[in-house]
């Protein structure tokens, strides 16, 4: 008897919830809210890319009471099915729609926000298409695969006046903010050098043979703008280690630790003036990203930034700012300084107070509502990853690069380096502008 009653209540609950949610799956502009949600409504969200980061972001957003995930998209049908299951289970319905092509999704769905977590080579096309639909975006770092694409995202976001949060979530972690804040306020004096340690990247799988594409995957769509190549088992996760799709640990982590290094030095809207880099991939194997690298950049006022795989640096992973009055080192496990009193310094009222966020995804949603800039806007994300793009070019050419960060061009008109600011796309895809 009791269980019947519980069953009845459960069913009734779902029905009520379903009705109550009706307005949230209608784009708010339809409701005459001037294109924006009313705070009392749930914010509709679409999820593009249902891999590890896609699901991590999905699981965070789904936990917010004011967000409603309405549809998912991936070129791997197994993955959309799995993500739909998470979403439908959470909402207790069967409403989440699935897509294999983002164009169809953007055409069909009326959403205010999108969470985009894709292999890097797909970032620019999909981010710009989404921003052009006036959809606010939580986009995974690195911003894109090449510098010109990354610039296109920042410009498209600005032009459409959409909110963009780059997934450089360390900015929303207190230890990083504390470190950056101390450096920014001159607690260690004048900073003339900074070292950024990123992971060693020694993954190796040899030279796999051609093989059949899994039935659940649209391989041509997975490749998108990248060259058409036979399937050799390179798919989810593996893309990180192949230059056509990503730049390995360097471009994965530049969006974290170079991002923090910039934050502490107020360099969010500029970049290096010169770049020199060496790097090597594994001696053999299909993976061709640099696994060991050492990069020297010079910024305005002679500031030197060295970026290297962690084995090369005395402090390993993280950011080490070296000032005239001491140093501060921060990574995900530790915050240290040359003198522990440095870490106890309180920034007074008149000091520089860095943007404060304690939850990166929450900060995005709050900004979607307030229309304020989030903690890591597109321009910031673009500047953080630009250093890695330029380093890749310096490695490939073996040349020292002379860069004008304001106009984003090489001051010596280096034509070979200029070519590498972007790679041509495979037809029919067009590089966004």
């Amino acid at each position: 008897m009791r269980s019947n009653r519980r069953e009845f209540l459960r069913k009734a609950g779902i029905a009520t919830m379903g009705m109550g949610m009706f307005p949230t799956i209608v784009k708010s502009s339809v409701l005459g809210l001037n294109g924006r949600v009313s705070p009392s409504n749930k914010i509709p969200m679409i999820v593009i890319g249902c891999g590890a980061m896609g699901n991590a972001n999905l699981n965070t957003f789904i936990s917010f009471d004011d967000v409603k995930i309405i549809a998912v998209c991936d070129v791997d049908h197994t993955r959309t099915t799995d993500s739909k299951k998470i979403i439908d289970t959470h909402y207790g319905n069967n409403d989440c729609r699935m897509y294999g092509d983002f164009r169809e999704m953007l055409e069909q769905e009326q959403s205010d926000t999108a969470a985009i977590s894709l292999p890097d080579h797909w970032h620019a096309i999909i981010s710009c298409a989404t921003a052009n639909k006036k959809i606010d975006i939580y986009g995974e770092k690195p911003l894109a695969r090449y510098l010109r694409e990354s610039r296109a995202i920042a410009d498209t976001v600005k032009r459409n006046q959409v909110i963009w949060q780059t997934g450089s979530q360390q900015r929303s972690v207190e230890s990083f903010r504390h470190a950056a804040s101390l450096v920014r306020n001159g607690v260690i004096g004048n900073v003339s050098a900074v070292e950024v340690g990123l992971p060693d990247g020694g993954t190796y799988i040899g030279n796999p043979q051609k093989m059949d594409v899994p039935e659940n995957v649209n391989w041509d769509m997975w490749l998108g703008p990248a060259p058409k190549v036979p399937f050799r088992g390179i798919l989810h996760w593996h893309w990180r280690w192949i230059m056509e799709y990503s730049g390995g640990q360097l471009t994965d982590w530049a969006g974290h630790h170079i991002d923090i290094a910039h934050w502490g030095l107020g360099l969010d809207h500029t970049g290096p003036l010169t770049i020199k880099a060496t790097g090597r991939p594994n001696n053999d194997g299909i993976y061709n990203v640099p696994v060991a690298y050492d990069i020297e950049c010079e910024y305005a006022n002679g500031l030197q930034m060295r970026i290297a795989n962690q084995s090369r640096l005395s402090h390993g992973m993280g950011v080490l700012w070296k000032g005239s009055n001491g140093w501060i080192h921060v990574n995900r496990h530790a915050l240290n300084a040359s003198d522990e009193d440095i870490l106890k310094v309180q920034i007074d009222e008149s000091g520089i107070h860095l943007y404060e966020s304690t939850n990166h995804q929450r900060n995005f949603i709050d900004c979607v509502k307030s229309r304020e800039a989030p903690i890591t806007p597109a321009e910031t994300g673009h500047r953080s990853i630009s250093v890695a793009y330029l380093a890749e070019i310096a490695m490939k050419t073996g040349q020292k690069l002379y860069w004008d960060p304001q106009n984003e061009r090489f001051t010596d008109n280096n034509i070979y380096a200029t070519r590498l600011l972007q790679r041509p796309y495979r037809s029919p895809w067009k590089i966004p502008v």
């Binding site: 060693d200 190796y204 060259p227 001696n283 060991a292 490939k396 050419t397 590498l420």
Partner: protein, 412 residues
Amino acid sequence: MQHAYCKGLTGPPGKYLYNKPRLSITQYNKIMKALIIEGQNEHHWQRSRTSIALKQIIEKSGIFTANIMVSPARDEDINDFVVGFSPYNVVLLDYTGQDWPEKTRHNFVEYVKNGGGVVVCNKAASAFPGWPEYNEIAGLGGYAGQENREGVSITIQDGAPIYNSAPGKGKEAGQYHEFAVQSLNPSHPILKGLPERWLHAEDMLPAGLRGPAKNLEVLAYAHSYKGYGGSGNNEPVMMTIRYGEGRVFHTTLGHSDNDPLFPPAIECAGFITTLRRGTEWAATGNVLQDVPSIFPSETSSLRWPFYEDIQTDIEAVIQRIQTYETGKSIDCFHILQLLVQENSGDQDSMDILHQQIIRLLTAEETTNDSKRILCRDFSWMANEPYRKVYKKLKENQVISAEAEFALNMMTP
């Protein structure tokens, strides 16, 4: 990370790009089989994967194909790790950890007794302190932390090995530094034709190794400087051991902890050459490989990233590019990229590289898989002469997309 290995590709192509014949497998009827055992070790084997380097080093001799066998991890059950050694001409040991199961130990001893070849690589020498037969096979071992280890230790004085049988401390590990390797028996097949003294790239020189040292011959030694935490003695670095009918080559060189990704000690031309020759000797009792045309000198070390002499033997790299097919080793393209990177400031060298790439793109013998990669990964550096080459390639339907990519790359 600047290396001297591929600087100075200057002058006319004929000067440096000569076609150096590699050792042909026909000299051995068929390619020989090597087994590399790894899976547990004292240092960061998981990161450095020395076994992959060993495989690439010996396979690039042209006379071996190597299988890597990974044992269960240190905290896993090793009882099912049963290995048969008889299919192999030579076994390379890059293993220090749990004792192998009885069956594997038995197989190993029988294999060596009956004429099998073994290469003991640095820390593997002390893999099994409690296994007497193994210690005879390895000859000497390092047993760090054991104060009164029994066995003989060997130092070299006035060109002769001195055997010391008083029990003593196990191995002392010095700091990483470059040191000179001195031949003791320069006429041994492994060392014949090589300079008698050469500077080894940064490595850790083990000192005070102890063991049964039966039927052991020291081939080369190095001085262990006290200033680097060493013993102050001349210590053996390469030796051979005879066990039954078997031949063992034991090298104490090749530590990788100081740069796990690209260890200088393993990229050292001297280490690579002696490992190759030692492996061949262990497998056959003879060494037919040519001595390399360049080698570290007494005062300057020499590194070969990719484990080959890419400066003087670039033709071999070009040949591999020409015959590349999807699924084969891609290292030839990495080497080409490295040559471009290292020579970018030298117009003469770059001219030679451009000529080579254009030759590859135009040659009918070059595979389409190879042309694809050349179009995709090297078109950023194309100068005007490439344009008509790419246009011509565009007519080839199989690679027209890549040729178009290359043309687009030239005019962003």
